[in-house]
Symmetry: C2
Subunit: 124 residues, 2 copies
């Protein structure tokens, strides 16, 4: 029976899949933007801005969208009009991630009370 144990050398940043996932989605906005597009399928820049909540800066929204696009989670359609019109749409790859995030979210929702209680106890 093979060991399931993961060798130490495999836990570094390049080989450890958990780290890979965190490095990619540990930032402030990626998941949020992805979920918004998962819900609405297709949105324009300003619409995403509204949906996310207006506390994201234009700069960070742009940066986040570019990264999601580079990874293949969303794709971008540019309409050569004036004023410009750009639509963002979630890809199949992006869609495939959404349920996992949703599961985590559900876990968080149902366990957050316990966590908060634990934090309270810990403070004392």
């Amino acid at each position: 029976m093979m060991e399931k144990k993961i060798k130490k050398s495999e836990w570094d940043i390049t080989n450890c899949p958990v780290r890979t996932v965190l490095d990619r989605f540990g930032d402030k906005w990626s998941i949020l933007v992805l979920l918004v597009l998962g819900e609405k399928q297709k949105l324009r820049f300003n619409e995403i801005n509204k949906e996310v909540g207006s506390d994201i800066s234009q700069k960070m929204l742009t940066v986040t969208l570019r990264k999601l696009e580079a990874d293949g989670f969303i794709f971008r359609t540019i309409y050569p009009e004036i004023p410009p019109k750009v639509e963002y749409e979630i890809t199949d790859l992006g869609k495939s991630l959404v349920p996992h995030v949703d599961n985590l979210t559900k876990w968080a929702v149902s366990n957050m009370p316990a966590i908060k209680r634990s934090r309270e106890r810990f403070k004392k």
Copy 2:
């Protein structure tokens, strides 16, 4: 009839569950340490250090362990000996999170090739 749409004000950091989860686990080490303890159940400080891979500083390991403990994901047993001995063990709450992280990890493993290909294409 109330909108199903999530109001902007509900997406802020305190009310949005996704953000809550990210704020808690978006840091560099929490999930990694939790997974290590999920596998081994019970470990001493230095053992965790070894398992995580020695690229975590003592300070950050301490900080991470305190946060996990405060949230109720692990608990700590101090043996009043000299030299000191401290054991960390995952709780049921902690265990309940592990499968979700594993699912995300599996997703990452199977989709990382596609992501990397997408990144290559995007560079050009």
